[in-house]
């Protein structure tokens, strides 16, 4: 089960089984292509490919649910601002009193929104199909320091741990008569006495955790052995290089003016 900042959704699709570095490369290359490719059909093509992969991984519905709340307001905002105020605006398609919606700005706004949608889709594709522990393990097997691997994994657990502590403090304060539920102003007032103990307990916990890690042998100068084998294959290695070359080719083509 995944908790914390991890968005990992259990599954057995080929994407779930793929090496984390393959998925990381795919994500970074998709984002790179979305921002390098100049025209909307190409950027849309990247988006369609990502949506197909999300569907193949069985997480399309989950993505659409999360993305709707995130991307619809961004798209509306970009389209509105750009179509009204972009300096390249020339062609009016909808007069609105003293303002006017312009074709050029609308195109630029929608293209920017499409690129952001690609970025979000690529990031979610990676997050939904990759356990953070697998990513850290794969990176450590490629030579990343175990200390840095620990930082990656522990950073993803900070939020649930803080929420756990906050719950305990809130329960203790409620037991002493503080009203922590009800209308927003009341909850806002209850937030202030929560904050100081939360910060202090976080500081104390950090010290105690540092001691506990020492006592558990963290930081020993030993050759770290792989926790488990993460399957990789020649096909995946070729795919990773192919994706990286595609980005380089797209960048070169863009700079040369071929696209």
């Amino acid at each position: 089960m995944a908790r914390g900042l991890s968005l990992y959704a259990e599954g057995s699709s080929p994407l779930h089984r793929a090496h984390p570095l393959t998925k990381a490369t795919l994500t970074l290359c998709a984002i790179g292509l979305a921002f390098i490719l100049p025209s909307w059909p190409l950027v849309l093509g990247v988006g369609v490919a990502l949506l197909s992969l999300l569907a193949a991984a069985g997480v399309l519905r989950r993505f659409l649910f999360v993305a709707a709340g995130l991307l619809v307001p961004i798209t509306l905002l970009l389209a509105l601002v750009q179509s009204l105020a972009n300096p390249h605006n020339q062609t009016v398609i909808l007069p609105l009193g003293p303002l006017a919606v312009h074709r050029e700005g609308l195109y630029i706004g929608l293209l920017a929104a499409l690129r952001i949608a690609d970025l979000v889709a690529a990031t979610f594709l990676f997050s939904f199909t990759t356990r953070p522990a697998d990513l850290a393990e794969a990176l450590m097997q490629r030579g990343l320091s175990p200390r840095f691997g620990y930082v990656i994994q522990s950073a993803l657990q900070i939020i649930p741990q803080s929420l756990e502590t906050a719950d305990r403090i809130r329960d203790a304060q409620r037991a002493r008569g503080l009203e922590t539920e009800g209308p927003l102003p009341r909850r806002a007032r209850a937030f202030i006495p929560l904050l100081l103990p939360l910060v202090l307990s976080a500081l104390v916990a950090t010290q105690e955790r540092a001691m506990a890690l020492e006592v558990r042998g963290f930081g020993l100068k030993v050759g770290r052995l792989a926790r488990y084998r993460i399957p990789d294959s020649l096909g995946q290695r070729v795919l990773r290089w192919g994706l990286a070359l595609a980005v380089v080719a797209a960048l070169a083509a863009r700079l040369r003016g071929w696209l």
Binding site: M1, S154, I158, P160, M211, V215, R227
Partner: protein
């Protein structure tokens, strides 16, 4: 026989304080002993654990005088993570003992053995053993934060046991446990003691200390007040005045039995019948 823990005129002072939190203490604990440590708040019980494991002064700073060695190595010269190969410390708060980086109970238990660079097959064997000893097998796939306080304490112990320490220091291990959880923990400790593990247990449940620990150390204001068998230590007036006495001894005193006061359930029953 070389003692597991040897302290000679050991004193420790935390940074920016003007008095010793511990000492002078002379102490020798042999292999396979189970020693209970009792005393009031600020008696230096936790500090004793920190000094033995080496966190004081290596982590806290401050000043350690006298001699402290564990398995023959001076604590001042051996890093704490090196010492973790043979000695473990269970802290009071199990929540802060989690690595904070693992999403499953079994992965959390594996953290220490992996940090020691053990082969994966051995890590898995140790994890399975530690989970079995602490009764957490059925919870191995759970997220550590989904466990209750008692289960968390058992997880913290399992994480230590997976490193197979020859010396186990326990700082109030039952502070988060209900009576059933405490009994389960003590059962685990009995098994470890029978297998030869040296145990030093700071514990405020004096009845448990009197019942289980063949040797008891009483601390007061950082000094060693008494060191001996439970019946001897808990009958010392200075220990009774500072650390208190087990409930059975109090009961016997109320009905005029003793001195010496019986300190265990069995001896109290015998005294009350007599």
């Amino acid at each position: 026989m070389t003692p597991v823990i040897a302290m000679a005129a050991a004193r420790y002072r935390y940074p920016e304080t003007d008095h010793d939190a511990l000492g002078p203490v002379d102490l020798a604990i042999g292999p396979g002993e189970w020693v209970g440590v009792v005393g009031p708040t600020n008696a230096g019980k936790s500090t004793l654990c920190y000094v033995i494991i080496g966190l004081a002064p290596q982590f806290f700073g401050g000043r350690l005088r006298g001699e402290v060695s564990v398995f023959g190595s001076p604590t001042a010269s051996q890093p704490v993570n090196e010492r973790s190969r043979r000695a473990g410390l269970l802290f009071q708060n199990p929540f802060t003992q989690l690595s904070g980086a693992r999403e499953r109970v079994d992965e959390e238990v594996a953290f220490g053995p992996e940090a020691h660079g053990l082969p994966q097959a051995e890590v898995e064997e140790r994890v399975a053993e530690a989970l079995r000893l602490t009764g957490l097998q059925d919870l191995r796939a759970r997220h550590p934060l989904d466990l209750s306080g008692g289960q968390l304490q058992r997880l913290a112990l399992a994480a230590l046991l997976a490193m197979r320490p020859e010396l186990l220091l326990l700082d109030e291990p039952t502070s988060q446990l209900d009576p059933a959880g405490s009994r389960a923990l003590f059962d685990v400790l009995r098994g470890l003691h029978a297998a030869g593990t040296t145990i030093v247990m700071v514990e405020h449940r004096l009845e448990a200390v009197a019942a289980m620990c063949p040797r008891v150390i009483a601390l007061g204001e950082g000094r060693l007040l008494a060191d001996g068998a439970p019946a001897e230590v808990f009958n010392r007036p200075e220990v009774q005045a500072s650390a208190g006495i087990p409930a059975f001894a109090r009961l016997a005193a109320l009905v005029g039995k003793g001195p010496p006061l019986p300190v265990t359930f069995e001896s109290a029953v015998e005294a009350l019948r007599g």
